[in-house]
Point group: C2
Chain length 123, copies 2
Amino acid sequence: MRMDFAETFAETPMRQVLFGVLSVVSAMPGLSQGKVAEALGIRRANMVALVNELVDLGLIARTTDHRDRRAFSLSLTQAGEAMLHEALAQIRRHEDRMLENLTTTERSTLVNLLRKIHGSTSR
Amino acid sequence: MRMDFAETFAETPMRQVLFGVLSVVSAMPGLSQGKVAEALGIRRANMVALVNELVDLGLIARTTDHRDRRAFSLSLTQAGEAMLHEALAQIRRHEDRMLENLTTTERSTLVNLLRKIHGSTSR
DNA sequence: TATTGTTATACTCTATAACTATA
DNA sequence: TATAGTTATAGAGTATAACAATA
């Protein structure tokens, strides 16, 4: 999955982590830079360059928060929304290819069995 | 899996990549350093330090090949075999924990379904 | 001339500490 | 005093190029 994704966007400045940021910002527009970083397990210090990249690419907008002038509110630009939708379409294409040999019943059986697997670390 | 593994050997000089080397050398004793690197997708240049570490830890033996004096033949020491067995036992414990909620029938169904998934990249 | 192991080196990712401006 | 973002920096991991010894 990761390899297919990286290959698709290889000739592009986009990387998986940048799509992660776009995804969180899209789900919770207006969230602060630090909170987005926390949601993704990224250190605030390392978040700076990532946000700079996305702003430079015109994919997110960074505005100072009205109520806390230390913080930045992040939101997607139209180009950012379009880029995120492209990534989601790529993910769907990948899944379709992966699962092409399974019937609908087999797919749901697979999901049910996977759900029964014990998450020993983060769940 | 990776996290569980790393946690188990955290207070140890062992890392996943070193177990990878031990595993390949154990399966094909006498293989050259470069071939082991190739089997693991490691560059020859980066292999040097890894083999040095394992030799210093007393886990592998490095001898010059009789037929090609440029090459090193790698093989496991007794301590290396013991370390590899420890890792395999840890992997088995992890799998047992993961699959504790599945019956034998469910486990084989799961494996059969996973086998039907289309490998889009490396298979 | 080609190959094995080696060294030097650069680039990415990630982690910590210290700074600034606000709160 | 604490927090949000920033900067500088250090450590892994991994990539390439050039070299000596051997084929």
